[in-house]
Amino acid sequence: MSYLPQSTLKVLEKIKFGVLSPDEIRKMSRVQIITAETYDEDGMPIQGGVMDPRLGVIEPGRRCPVCGNTMHGCPGHFGHIELAKPVIHIGYVKQIYDLLRGTCWKCSRILLSEDQIKEYLSLMERLERLFPNLKPRLIEHIRQKTAKVQECPHCGAKQKKIKLDKPTNFYEKDKGVRKLSPDEIRARLTHIPDDDVRLFGIDPKEARPEWFVLTVIPVPPAQVRPSIMLETGVRSEDDLTHKLVDIIRANNRLKESMDAAAPPIVIDDLWELLQYHVTTYINNEVPGIPPARHRTGRALKTLAQRLKGKEGRFRGNLSGKRVDFSARTVISPDPNISINEVGVPEEMAKLLTVPMRVTPWNIEEARKYVMNGPYKWPGANYIIRPDGRRTDLRFFKDRKALASSLTPGYIVERHLIDGDIVLFNRQPSLHRMSIMAHKVRVLPGKTFRLNLLVCPPYNADFDGDEMNLHVVQTEEARAEALELMLVQEHILSPRYGGPIIGGLQDYISGAYLLTTKSTLLTEEEVMDLLSVTDYKGELPEPAITKPVKMWTGKQLVSLFLPPNFNLRAKTSVNAGRLKCEDEDCFNDTYLVIKKGKLLAGVLDKKSIGAQQPESFYHWIVKEYGVDYARFLTDNMFRMFIRYIEKHGFTMSLDDVEIPPEAEERIREILKEAEEDVAQLIEAYRKGELEPLPGMTPEETLETKIMERLSRARDQAGEVAAEYLDIFNNALIMARTGARGNILNLTQMSAALGQQSVRGERINRGYRGRPLPHFKPGDLMPAARGFVYSSFRTGLSPVELFFHAAGGREGLVDTAVRTSQSGYMQRRLINALMDIRVEYDGKATLPDGTVVQFSYGEDQVDPARSDHGKPVNVDRIIERVIGHEL
């Protein structure tokens, strides 16, 4: 056998669209369906009914009378229904309308002179060749032109006005109004010559106009509309089958009436009914007619509905497909596995398999798996013989014999084992980092385990999030996953050319606490910290030798830095009172690394944080590669976590408590603001308030009050911050960027401040007041949602209400936003997805159209750029001579 998969030999080159002609429908039909009955009393399908066995077998064990295959091999076969009278195809009503208006009722020629016809045909031919995009414009022009013509240039007949009464009734207006029957329409369409048809943008080879009026309809194979058995044993038919039965019933009644020469009114009514059924069979959401309903009142899902929409055939089954070898469960954190690993529950590992081709080199391993069987990990679930036959190990008794019968060429579907490559995904998959390749670690438990550092690209947390896992099955897929999709290949985001993976929360607090000046570690502590890493070298000289040997945290960090790494950078804590402009920094807030030694400064969010471009971590990734970056996250970062674990880190009520004198000062500040607001209101009431340009006095007042109150809250926050100890845990988190900000602290210890809805102070509710606790028209801060309390002191009932009102707006906002931005992204993806870079750096569409002659104007890959720049010259100079500066 060749190693070339069969599929590579067959490539679909194109798909042609067209309309089925009545002849074709009859030709591809295996049986004419004539009766509305489906099954007889014994439950056997009736010959000539919609469940005729010649339409394909779907029951197991039966053979198809047409092709002789069982249900697995039989592709199904079409049938057809001969309509007693023609009906309009609802999908082509517009074309029929245009054709009727644009052609002569008498001679069926297009309403253009011979010269014009010739001219337009040649123009159309040229357009098709040179500017295919413009063809619709020409067709539209012809359509409008022909619809206006009064007299036929060919036979001279005076033209009548055609009216379309949606959805399917055509009328001719001359002196009176006369309905055109589908019969007549079909006759007129039949007589339009091919060249005239072409001028309407219709290809007569693929779609003759008369085919738009149905005389025969195809009956799809049983496979397309399988019936389902309910537990009660009752057969429940597919919606399409129901509709087909309706059509046959209406058709037969019409035929009988015609044979019996019934009065025309009766015939017309039945004809109308047939039209209705055929229309709803094709599309059950046509405006203007009631949708056909199931007995239960549910609208039937007919042909158009099957294709349309998110769950339709196109978006639901063709653009996105359901797959095997996938799993989903809750995620939980595990800081002890590598960032490119994923913990998989053993239970799952026993169900997910990897096909393993038996070779002389792995035959012993393969035998071991087969012997373990499907229930003992690591085992195997199936073996596939070279002839393609599958053996299910669940039902095979003598596995030992089977194992020894293995020879090279067999395929063993073995369980997932450590080191297998899988794809890991969290929805919504908004960017490519939402699906990355991980290496499997089979672990006890029932959840997926992932390293905390990969939370940012997935946007995952552990409050109940679930994630999906896919096991790649082919060697090609595995190679691509390993080379292109592995986690470390995605540390740098193509969005902004910086790391998206990096430290967060405790990693940052831990790094700060470890590297801060005051941290000194005994030999025992150093050993403990290094024990979670793979560090194998000697300990450096201790920073302090007497009375006991002590090391600094900076020394430990330096153990993991490349020996020629230089960097000078500001830190997150470099702010406010601790601000420093250069490396001569008493506050230890300016990061200095020379020749791989961390000399001064602390590590915090600005250096090791996620989504921090041009940071310590970013330069490490860029200059020493992604594998070194992974080495750091799996060693140095793990050490940070170990340190914070030993050190202990929490936040308590004490951390947001401020002394009584501070509270007094805050009260004072708020009172002052309140008085100022009272004055503003007073001025406004007297009409003395100078309105701001372009604003009413009311708006002016509101703006001024808001300004004054937000200033008051800021001042209160500053006071509170003054009294917070610099080693206060909450403040450490805010300063280092680990979590929270000063505003959060202010709200906890000083005052919540103004609550707002739609950017205004809260004013909805009762007439002139938000709550009945206030007088109507009270404009004071308390009556309009200003919260004086802090989270620590607790809110009064009224304050709580205002806070809830403001909080709800945020929730609504998020809900609205996700749907809007989701749709925008879908459109962006759809518009841009075909663009790719050519070998010469052009950005092109698949047909060769050039979108950009040089991608991004400089052909630089944003993911490889230095935060957008092709090269950061400053950084290169720093790399080479940074240690001498």
Binding site: A207, T703, I829
Partner: protein
Amino acid sequence: MGKKTGSKLDVEKIVRDRAGGRLPERIVQELVEKLEEYKSKLDRKKVEEIVDLTVREYESRLVDPGEPVGIVAAQSIGEPGTQMTLRTFHYAGVRELNVTLGLPRLIEIVDARKTPSTPMMEVYLDEKHRHDKEKAMEVAKKIEHTRIENVASEIIADLYTNSIRVVLDPEMLEDKGVTTQDVVNVIKKMNIGNVSVEDEYIIVVELKEEGDLSYITRKKERITNAKLKGISGIKRAIIQTRQTENGEEYVIITDGSNLAQVLKVKGVDPTRTTTNNISEIENVLGIEAARQAIVNEIMNVLQNQGLDVDIRHVYLVADIMTHTGRVRQIGRHGVTGEKESVLARAAFEMTTKHLFDASVEGREDLLKGVTENVIVGQIVPVGTGMVDVYVDARGMMRNQSSGSGEGEA
């Protein structure tokens, strides 16, 4: 300079010798500049090392052939969409102006709407007007659309005397730079009756024709809305100071936009004046300007929201919208709707319409794009899927026993 090394270091020569042709000129210049700065700390070897490193780094940063840059761009702009706000903001420094920013504005831009929900202009002034507040005000008054309504405190229709009284507000006249005579002239031009000035600020219009209530109210409306001066569409013009390369200068910010007319106004600097109405820019300045406007507007929204997105992604979005020579919407009536492939369009929106139309036209889908190939289950033509190996597979199988297969182009 160069004391340590003794000899003079010709940085530029070293850089050009080593990097010549391998680095873009911009980077060469930056390199020379920065190296000059550090000259005292450098010797020849160091400079060479830096130049070589720069070249090596630069060459490793070029984009790979096949890279699906479109998808990356769409994701890079779409993903941060979830983090944007929905609210409108007050324009920086001007409290009375609202600007739509955030997600709604971004959607508006990619929708290629004819008019933005909050049209706005930044009118820069020429040398004569930009440094003087008075002169800047003069231009602003010329631009601002002023109707009689804006300067009148009252307009009364008097059915009894068949006349209309316009009571002017002296303060507003002053503010808008209009005189009573201006108003009189405008009303006279309308030719609807005899105009007289009763008091300094009261104008009486005796209508020519007798009419009923609805007639007189109609005339009153006409007077109310009559244009005194300015440019239609500009509801308001505000003066701001701004730091630019010309130092501090006065700039006019307008509520409403009319680029074509504003550019004609004397005192306006047409080279820097801009609007947030992309369709106006397309009509007045052309497609290249529109493309740049799209880039500027998207970057402005993203930066305002504090979102970091590489400008190359924005370029690509702007280019796919404009590369045909007119601005196309990202969506069913634009880029996607004009796709060649039937399947790609059907998979996006209006599935059945595209299928019916395709059948009538007898269209072929050549399966060249990404969606089409996903649909039929083939390899997509981007990334590693772009690579084709030209092999006669059947020939290879035939020749397997006899030796190596023959390649065929």
